[in-house]
């Protein structure tokens, strides 16, 4: 009799726990309606990236195959990393995950979590330089979700014309331009450190110059043979950031300025340069559509005008969840996404912020002026992926450290040194050799 009671008590406790845990995971699968013929795919994406193109393709997939797509959203940046990692670890990931390529993707343990796409026919036309950034142990896991973007100096062409400036080809020319802009009473370089991630751009966008000077840096860096602070080419990136601060080129309240404020300054021409990623263009188009053609872009220059070129960011990718019940449907989804028809649908819904990572795709003539600024560099091969795509190591505190260097708390050398200790943790967590 008493035993029975114990069991019923235990049983109810277990039931209770089961009930609670079920609450968490149900939202994704049940909401799409239950009819068995129609598959509903869930796709987890962030809130910052351009969504119109994806939505349009999702509609196309539904028309073609009757596969519905349900978008789940998460924040971007480190908060988003958290959610993705947690949902993977708890087996609660959506069917398709939208996530960065490069070092961040390496940290997700792709072999364990994602479906190998190496031999899928739809991956054939994807650029090799993109594939490299979603490859782990020789297997390709991601399909490009967005156009390729660049990191460079976005500038206001109208102000450039007013002040009679020309696009700088060397760092010294850029600094001379900054001096003239400062004298005219405008902000030469927009700082938006309230959103700390934006402080990294001068350092990150310098990678083309680093590699031009020291091509073996990424490998030696990954193998723990080269350090930021002791490699002159890499240290120069930090010095450039410090120089911009020391010469007082930034807006006075750069620590309280947000990314959105910065876009406004750039669009309206109160700020003239903004070292940033291509995502600036669609954001300005959204908020200040009549001003978007005033915005141009040039690569962060180095010492020599001939070596001038863009540091490019490979786009985020779609990864298929290995534990998904709808792997085949997800593959079909990607097949449509990367097909000629899919890309045309994408382009009809939104203007791209750069070229696609798929070979044989022609961009329409009405692309943004800034994209036209980039194309010559792509056509002549003067691009280098950012360091995070060449080496799996990216320290999590870079944005705090660049804030310190960019606001004069630390010198370039000190900043580079503390970044070197920061990456050590990342390398150890990844279990790399030589650390």
């Amino acid at each position: 009799m008493r035993k029975k009671k114990i069991f019923s008590l235990l049983g109810s406790t277990v039931l209770m726990a089961g009930l609670l845990s079920a609450c968490g995971s149900e939202e994704g699968s049940s909401a799409g309606g239950g009819s068995s013929e129609q598959t509903t795919l869930t796709l987890l994406r962030d809130t910052q990236s351009s969504q119109e193109g994806m939505n349009a393709v999702a509609k196309l997939v539904e028309e073609k195959y009757g596969i519905k797509t349900e978008f789940e959203t998460r924040p971007g940046g480190t908060e988003g990393d958290n959610i993705v990692k947690t949902r993977l670890a708890t087996g609660d990931m959506a069917d398709i995950a939208f996530y960065n390529s490069g070092s961040l993707m390496q940290a997700l343990n792709p072999e364990k979590n994602f479906v190998d796409l190496t031999n899928e026919p739809f991956m054939e036309n994807v650029m090799d330089s993109f594939k490299e950034t979603v490859t782990a142990n020789g297997k390709v896991y991601g399909a490009p979700a967005l156009p390729v973007s660049v990191g460079g100096w976005f500038y206001n062409k109208k102000v450039y014309k007013e002040l009679g400036l020309s696009v700088p080809k060397t760092w010294d020319e850029l600094m001379a331009n900054n001096e003239k802009i400062k004298k005219s009473g405008k902000t030469a370089v927009i700082g938006s450190y309230k959103d700390t991630w934006t402080s990294q751009l001068i350092v990150l966008a310098d990678n083309h110059n680093v590699i031009a000077e020291d091509p073996s840096f990424p490998e030696e860096y990954t193998a723990n043979k080269a350090k930021m602070a002791t490699t002159p080419a890499a240290l120069k990136s930090f010095e450039k950031l410090q120089e911009v601060h020391d010469k007082g080129y930034m807006n006075e309240d750069f620590l309280a300025t947000t990314y959105d404020n910065a876009l406004k300054m750039l669009a309206e021409g109160t700020g003239v340069h903004y070292p940033m990623l291509s995502q600036v263009i669609p954001s300005i188009e959204k908020n200040y559509p009549e001003l978007v053609e005033d915005i141009g872009v040039f690569p962060q220059p180095g010492d020599s005008a001939e070596k001038n070129g863009f540091t490019v960011w490979m786009p985020a990718a779609f990864y298929v969840n290995k534990n998904s019940e709808n792997v085949d449907a997800a593959k079909k989804w990607l097949e449509v996404y990367l097909s000629q028809e899919g890309i045309e649908t994408y382009l009809s819904a939104t203007k791209p912020e750069g070229p696609f990572a798929v070979e044989g795709v022609e961009l329409p003539d009405d692309v943004y002026g800034a994209v036209k600024d980039m194309m010559p560099y792509f056509d002549s091969g003067k691009t280098t992926p950012a360091l995070e795509f060449l080496s799996p190591i990216k320290g999590p505190n870079l944005q705090q450290i660049t804030t310190e260097v960019g606001s004069g708390i630390k010198s370039a050398k000190e900043g580079a040194k503390s970044y070197d200790t920061d990456v050590e943790k990342q390398a150890k967590q990844l279990g790399l050799e030589g650390w």
């Binding site: 008590l9 480190t78 670890a89 343990n109 364990k112 606001s407 503390s418 967590q429």
Partner: protein
């Protein structure tokens, strides 16, 4: 009647609560001590001894949080005690609008910390914020509250005090109200003035209330996280990082073992500071 049956019967009632406590509190605590000594990816782990602690304590960007946490805890605790006591004395008087003022003082406590943080970071904007606009109106050039690394931590601490002083005040009011009238009568007969009333009666006899406030505010300050995260995310750079925000960032970066080690360190720090403080304060308490 106190037989074995009887006792085990009552113990049975403790079981559900016991299981919940074990699964959700004891087990994670024990596990966290273990995982703090591992290299951990949530699915896979390797024992590495005290390596995580060494990393956490030896790195500048990590241990900067110790100093900040102590400063933050001491400043918020001290201000809450002093302001709470003064407000408590003021609001336990027979003022006509006392009910209204009490609710005014208590009101910020009810607000969401994150909302308060976002609101104040807007108010504290160096060029467009209301605080500096108000200061400019009377001819003072306000500082960059959250951007100046010398004062950013103090700015956050002040907001914490603004938000938390209501609770301290309520505890003090309760303490002051429970002082028997006899003491005041005795003081009147002896011819004491208002200062004597405050210093010789209210302060010593509201000691239990004060101890509660000190302990609550101090521990709260030590493990504070949400307000700092909402206002500065530990920046500029690392200048307002507290141990808790550093742990969170390590966790975000995927350093699960390292962040667990940070939590163990925080646990030890809170225990090392709070228990002796508690014991010391209890010894000083006066019986009514």
């Amino acid at each position: 009647m106190n037989t074995l049956t009887n006792r085990s019967y009552t113990n049975l009632f403790l079981l559900p609560a016991g299981i919940v406590y074990f699964v959700f509190f004891l087990l994670p605590t024990i596990l966290s001590f273990f995982f703090s000594m591992t290299w951990w990816t949530l699915t896979d782990w390797k024992f590495i001894g005290l390596e995580n602690f060494k990393t956490f304590l030896s790195e500048e960007s990590l241990n900067i949080g110790f100093k900040n946490t102590i400063i933050y805890a001491v400043v918020t605790c001290a201000l809450k005690v002093i302001l709470g006591l003064l407000l408590g004395v003021f609001l336990s008087s027979r003022l006509r609008t006392v009910g209204f003022i009490r609710s005014m003082v208590f009101f910020p406590t009810l607000l969401s910390t994150v909302a308060v943080g976002i609101a104040f970071s807007t108010l504290m904007h160096p060029s467009q914020g209301m605080i500096n606009a108000a200061l400019a109106a009377i001819g003072i050039a306000g500082p960059d509250w959250l951007g100046d690394i010398q004062i950013a931590l103090l700015s956050v601490a002040l907001v914490d005090v603004w938000k938390g002083v209501g609770l301290a005040t309520v505890i003090f009011i309760a303490g002051i109200m429970s002082i028997p009238e006899d003491y005041y009568e005795a003081l009147m007969i002896d011819g004491g003035n208002t200062w004597n009333k405050f210093w010789n009666i209210i302060v010593p006899l509201s000691r239990p209330a004060m101890n509660t406030v000190i302990i609550l505010a101090f521990i709260g300050g030590l493990r504070s996280f949400d307000l700092v995260w909402a206002m500065t995310k530990g920046g500029p750079g690392f200048s307002t990082d507290l141990i808790a925000s550093i742990i969170y960032k390590q966790y975000q970066a995927g350093f699960y073992g390292l962040s667990t080690a940070g939590n163990v360190i925080l646990f030890i720090l809170v225990s090392l500071l709070a228990f002796p403080l508690y014991a010391y304060l209890n010894r000083k308490e006066v019986d009514l």
